[in-house]
């Protein structure tokens, strides 16, 4: 056989192997986490683990409800703040802004996504937390330390902001300009064209951007850990402290050997995080497929 045909086949198979092994890694992580969680799953029922907020590791009480609630709350707040802002920002940048301005603003937004999370955390502690404590919370509750769900959500929102803008920028750029021109040529204004054509055509892309942002927000650890107070109780308002799952793992990983079952509990926390993100991605994949099918 010709040597270049052999090479071609070899390359194809090597690439297949590489692809499979990277996918396999995800499976291995899941198996590893599950294996490590087995002890705690044997000692406590799954429903107790998921729905109880008793958290007393020294008494072997492990209930994750407060942590799960903390994670979901912070993520929800972050998206609620970030999505409308970044949507409007992306629309402005892609549809209205003169090129001189975008040439200056786009690198700035890229820079935002390049700042290390710990810097956002410090900024949160120095600016967001005191601001919430002194100026926002007093209008709503008697007392808040400022270390709260809201602080976590605000910091996280600013962190996912550039991510959403970048993805939406791509999404809007992929809408053929002739489609906008078709709408404009009928006498629609720019805003009508954006509302009825651009946003409609981009809907699957917007969903995808939100999904990626939420996945990112679920896992963000250090910046959130620094501003949300880390008290293992379910928050009753956005001004209460909370304790998201990634923060729990990061804070306690060093000392987990000293308490029985603690290591297994933390691995189970990681497993919950993994499963949440997996289910979330799978669910949004289904929604996306349906959206795309409806449009074509």
């Amino acid at each position: 056989m010709n040597i270049r045909i052999v090479k071609d086949k070899a390359v194809k198979n090597i690439f297949l192997l590489l692809t499979v092994s990277s996918v396999l890694l995800v499976v291995l992580i899941f198996i590893g986490l599950y294996y490590k969680s087995v002890p705690i799953l044997h000692s406590t029922s799954l429903s107790h683990l998921l729905f109880s907020s008793e958290w007393k590791p020294s008494k072997a009480q492990f209930g994750f409800a407060a942590f799960i609630a903390g994670t979901l709350w912070v993520t929800l707040i972050a998206i609620v703040i970030a999505l409308p802002l970044s949507l409007l920002c992306a629309i402005y940048l892609s549809q209205y802004a003169p090129r001189r301005l975008t040439r200056f603003l786009n690198p700035l937004i890229d820079l935002l996504s390049g700042i290390p999370p710990v810097v956002y955390g410090v900024w949160g502690v120095l600016v967001v937390v005191p601001f919430i404590q002194e100026h926002v919370a007093p209008h709503f509750v008697e007392y808040s330390s400022g270390y709260s769900v809201l602080a976590g959500g605000v910091v996280l929102a600013i962190m996912i902001f550039p991510l959403i803008i970048n993805i939406l920028g791509e999404v809007f750029a992929n809408v053929p300009k002739e489609l906008s021109e078709a709408s404009l040529s009928i006498g629609a204004t720019q805003w009508q064209t954006i509302k009825y054509v651009l946003l409609k055509k981009s809907r699957p892309g917007i969903v995808a951007a939100v999904v990626l942002a939420i996945s990112r927000a679920f896992g963000e650890t250090i910046a959130v850990l620094m501003v949300c107070g880390n008290i293992p109780e379910s928050p009753h308002s956005v001004f209460d402290s909370c304790y998201p799952l990634p923060a729990l793992i990061a804070n306690n990983y060093g000392e987990m050997m000293s308490v029985p079952l603690y290591d297994s509990a933390l691995m189970f926390a990681a497993l919950i995080l993994f499963v949440i993100i997996f289910l979330f991605n799978a669910g949004s994949r289904i929604i996306l497929n349906r959206l795309e099918r409806r449009m074509n």
Binding site: R99, P176, E178, L179, E181, A182, S183, L184, S185, I186, G187, A188, T189, Q192, Y196, V197, K200, K201, R294, M295, N296
Partner: protein, 254 residues
């Protein structure tokens, strides 16, 4: 040379994109309720000229436009000109059809709705009328609410024509509107153009000489950003005055 009242009147138009001088001192009067075709080799500026008529050209970056384009006597490039009502006057057909991401019905109703028609009955009438006038009604009347992208490409182009007609324009601009279509669909579009010219002024860009001959009353030959010759179709094709026009028609330049 042409003594009819002009509908679009271009005066000393110069267009630059970046450093390139795309259109050079163009002056032309497009006659009312006739079909005028721009012919010329690729890259000669014929599409650019068309796009100056509905102000879509200046949406691009680095475009500089000098001179005047008068539509019904109103300067498109005047300081206080409001572009949406000018664009409403001109239906646009692009090289490939771009149906809006909505149903067949909503594609036609889009324009009227944008311009304030909300009455259901009125909208239904408009949709039916314009689908009939583009010979689509019988083909789509049972699936008005299915996505427009499911139509064949020829049907899509007729839908785009109907969508443009629904806002009652005076002018129809076609930028090589049949270049993506099969011969049968092309023929249907050409037939429609011939029907429409009683009521509308049509301006077409085409690189197919036979098409220009079949549908147009007037032809302008554009070469390297300049209008070389403009005249009645038969005169220009059979008896061109300029050497460049002769060469193009014979196929020496393309």
């Amino acid at each position: 040379m042409i003594n009819l009242a002009p509908h679009i009147s271009v005066k000393n138009l110069n267009v630059y994109i970046g450093d390139a001088h795309i259109l050079k001192n163009i002056s032309i009067d497009i006659p009312d309720k006739k079909v005028t075709s721009f012919i010329g080799p690729s890259g000669c500026g014929k599409t650019t000229l068309l796009k100056t008529f509905n102000r879509l050209l200046d949406r691009q970056n680095d475009v500089r436009i000098e001179g005047q384009v008068l539509v019904d006597g109103e300067d498109l490039y005047g300081k206080d000109t409001e572009v949406t009502h000018i664009r409403k006057k001109m239906g646009l057909l692009s090289q490939r059809p771009f149906p809006l991401p909505m149903s067949i019905y909503d594609n036609i109703a889009y324009g009227p709705r944008i311009h304030g028609i909300k009455n259901k009955k009125k909208l239904n009438e408009l949709v039916e009328h314009h689908l009939r006038s583009t010979a689509l009604w019988d083909e789509v009347k049972d699936r008005l609410h299915s996505p427009a992208t499911r139509l064949s490409i020829g049907q899509q182009q007729r839908l785009c024509l109907a969508r443009g007609l629904a806002v009652e324009p005076e002018i129809i601009l076609g930028d090589e509107p049949t270049s993506a279509l099969d011969p049968v669909s092309t023929q249907r579009i050409e037939e429609l153009f011939l029907q429409l010219k009683d009521k509308y002024t049509l301006v077409l860009v085409t690189h197919i000489l036979r098409q220009a001959r079949r549908v147009s009353d007037y032809i302008a030959f554009i070469y390297m950003g300049e209008i070389i010759e403009f005249g009645l179709t038969e005169e220009l094709l059979l008896n061109p005055k300029e050497q460049l026009t002769k060469d193009y028609i014979k196929g020496f330049i393309s």
